[in-house]
């Protein structure tokens, strides 16, 4: 019979049982909070990185990843704000250079020196980690090299005005753009509402070519100035593109997605985008029966580094400092699994560039092979928002928009940047 005493004993046994099993389980299962910005629209994420994370979870049932996905534009702000409050996840995607630097300086991230030999130098050259290296310590491992500048052009539209090849020089480019305008075709599709497009995609490469690839470092070291004529000339190119009406008129109220759409809908002949666009462009071109060519900005007179192409490593994960031993072990296990040779080869297949020394797979698509050849003709140069401190990024992002609306001259913007340095 179950009387009061008996039921109490049963109750106690149950409670002890529950406590015991949960404590045993807690010992076995490690929970890690993870943040990243891969919403899965791009091939590299949906076909490689996201399946990799899934596979890891399947193989390691005792490591539980609590994942938050935050779209790129808000991700940086969110991470910065959370970091300012000292609350960051255990594993998180971090952005290169000046973006991750404050987190490192605040001691929020774990340095990977103890385990970095796993990758260097056989798989990843130490140089490729420079955007995440501070005081000779590495704080993140990147999956990709993001070149931030390519020109995508509609071959048929260019043919309409008599161009079968991409113009060699900027002068010729302007002649072509005028001809397109005369035919009522918008030469360049631009969507600069979020303000980073003119900076990351345009001025980074144009600036690198006119000023040389060491310029930004020299400016930050105080050896050169933003008021340098070469930099003003680079700003003038952007201003000229806007003043001549080569962009669509509503460029400042569209986002970068709408910019690509206008190109796909044949409302513009050209758009400038980054390596992240390559997969999508090649695929859409196939679906829509479009004839798309890929190039880089034509040669401008007076270039110091004519073959510079702005690019930076990305899709990197960092680990929070102050994890428990078990968590640390699990996080390192994840990194080793995630940044494997296999991952890099798979990434190459989706049309991404990688910082690792791996052989090109034989089954790579011919279009991507062409892009690889194009990139191999160039030398990598810095991307402005990966090098400049955050207040200068803000100044140049806003300033470039003001250049296009005619509210600022190149000289004024250059002076403002020098003042804010």
């Amino acid at each position: 019979m179950i009387n009061k005493k008996n039921s109490l004993i049963i109750f106690i046994v149950l409670i002890v049982g529950i406590l015991f099993t949960s404590s045993v389980m807690a010992q076995e299962t490690v929970e890690l909070e993870m943040w990243h910005a891969w919403t899965g629209q791009d091939a590299f994420a949906s076909e490689v990185l996201l399946p990799k994370i899934e596979e890891f979870q399947k193989q390691n049932p005792n490591i539980k990843l609590k994942i938050q996905v935050i779209p790129n534009d808000s991700y940086r702000t969110k991470l910065r704000t959370q970091a300012a409050g000292g609350q960051i996840p255990d594993i998180m995607q971090t952005y290169p250079g000046s973006e991750v630097q404050p987190l490192v300086e605040a001691g929020l991230l774990m340095d990977l020196e103890g385990i970095i030999d796993y990758w260097t130098d056989d798989l990843i050259p130490r140089d490729s980690l420079s955007a995440y290296t501070f005081n000779d310590k590495v704080y993140a491992i990147p999956a990709k090299v993001n070149y931030t500048h390519f020109a995508f052009y509609n071959k048929d539209m260019l043919k309409e005005v008599g161009y079968t090849v991409w113009p060699e020089t900027y002068k010729e480019f302007k002649v072509m753009a005028d001809k397109l305008k005369a035919k009522n075709i918008v030469p360049i599709s631009l969507g600069n509402k979020a303000k980073w497009v003119l900076q990351s995609i345009y001025i980074s490469t144009i600036g690198d070519r006119l000023t040389g690839i060491d310029y930004l470092e020299d400016v930050l070291a105080g050896e050169r100035k933003f008021t340098d004529p070469a930099f003003i000339k680079a700003l003038d190119v952007i201003k000229e593109l806007a003043d001549e009406g080569y962009f669509n008129k509503d460029a400042n109220s569209l986002n970068d997605m709408e910019m690509r759409q206008a190109f796909y809908q044949k409302r513009a002949a050209i758009f400038f985008g980054g390596a992240w666009d390559i997969g999508g462009v090649i695929e859409t071109a196939k679906e829509e029966n479009m004839n798309v060519g890929i190039a880089t900005f034509p040669q401008i007179e007076g270039e110091v580094a004519p073959k510079a192409l702005s690019g930076v490593t990305g899709s990197a994960f960092s680990i929070r400092s102050g994890l428990s031993e078990a968590q640390k072990e699990a996080a390192i296990k994840f990194l080793k699994f995630f940044y494997s040779e296999e991952t890099y080869v798979d990434l190459l297949r989706t049309g991404s560039f990688v910082p690792a020394k791996v052989d090109l797979p034989a089954d790579i698509s011919p279009q991507f092979q062409e892009v690889i050849n194009l990139v191999n003709e160039h030398q990598i140069g810095p991307v402005y928002d990966a090098v400049l401190p955050i207040n200068l990024i803000q100044t140049i992002n806003n300033g470039l928009q003001s250049l296009t609306t005619g509210e600022m001259t190149s000289e004024e913007l250059a002076q403002q940047m020098q003042d804010n340095l």
Binding site: T77, R80, T81, A83, A84, P102, L103, E105, A106, N192, K193, A194, K195, N248, K249, D250, A251, N252, S253, A262, R267, I390, N391, Q394, N398, Q401, S402, T404, T405, E407, M408
Partner: protein, 292 residues
């Protein structure tokens, strides 16, 4: 009556307490914390350093701040002179015994409950230069010359945005006024009718004075709401092109979370609070003056 009330005073305070504590913790105290942050230079990571009133000096010396204040005043004026009168007129109309007034009531109120992000996206499409509804209608009726770059032209972008703000919140004031109009006793209106006050005259001399308190409340709400306006503009234009639609809240957000200048951002926030209190006080004084 008074006696009963006295006994219940404690209970009343007890009832208010939870809400008051929340309000204190999440509104009042943060304002003071912000005030303290506004006196330091701080990027969120390194230890803050005390700079006195330097952030305020920087703010008042910043052209973009003044521009954001000017833009914000456009929003305040558009709201007070747009939302309140339109809301009042619509309330007068729907307060009549007309057919389908329930339907109109819902329709007019609807924008208020739709998320600001959705409204912004829809209006961005309406304003789109190439295939937007507005430009299409204009060219369809032969007004090609009126076709505008509604959100990209710095000269008119602020007004395009303000129009959407009016559109979204008319419903809120409409509901406030409708509720107020329904408290106006029929006897008074009937008496006025007998005395010969009809139509506009009756509205002007009988109805408006009777709902005066609601109008004041609406204007106060309107001013404070306009000063913190953020989401619509953030999504539609992100403050651009070249600061043409940057209001104070966006200026604050951009500097705080994109520029990592927490001290400066706090200074702007404090200015918004003080400026709001000043504006509201002026409006109240004006109303009191009219009463005398």
């Amino acid at each position: 009556m008074e006696h009963i009330y006295k006994h219940k005073k404690k209970i009343i305070y007890l009832g208010i307490l939870p809400a008051f504590l929340l309000y204190l913790g999440f509104v009042i105290i943060p304002i003071f914390i912000s005030a303290r942050y506004s006196l330091v230079e701080w990027n969120g990571f390194s230890p803050p350093s005390f700079v006195g009133l330097e952030n305020y000096a920087e703010m008042f010396g910043n052209n973009i701040f003044w521009r954001s204040l000017k833009n914000n005043m456009v929003v305040v004026l558009a709201s007070v002179l747009g939302q309140v009168p339109i809301g009042f007129l619509l309330a007068l109309l729907v307060n009549q015994k007309i057919k389908g007034r329930h339907f109109f009531r819902t329709i007019i109120f609807m924008p208020v409950v739709i998320s600001a992000v959705i409204i912004s996206l829809v209006w961005s499409m309406v304003y789109n230069y190439n295939f937007g509804l507005l430009n299409n209608i204009l060219s369809f009726v032969g007004l090609e010359s009126w076709v505008q770059n509604w959100l990209s032209n710095p000269d008119i972008a602020m007004f395009s945005v303000a129009a959407v703000i009016i559109w979204q919140f008319v419903g809120l004031y409409f509901i406030i006024f409708l509720a107020a109009l329904q408290t106006v006793p029929d006897e008074i209106l009937e008496a006025a009718k007998i005395d010969g006050a009809q139509g506009w005259k009756r509205t002007l001399y009988i109805t408006i004075p009777l709902v005066k308190d609601s109008i004041l409340a609406a204007i106060v709400l309107c001013i404070s709401g306009s000063l913190k306006t953020f989401a619509l503009i953030y999504v539609m234009t992100n403050g651009g092109p070249s600061h043409a639609t940057e209001v104070m809240a966006i200026h604050m957000y951009d500097n705080t979370f994109n520029g990592m200048k927490f001290g400066y951002g706090s200074a702007v926030s404090i200015f918004i609070v003080v400026f709001g209190i000043v504006l509201v006080t002026i409006v109240r004084k004006l109303f009191a003056k009219f009463e005398n």
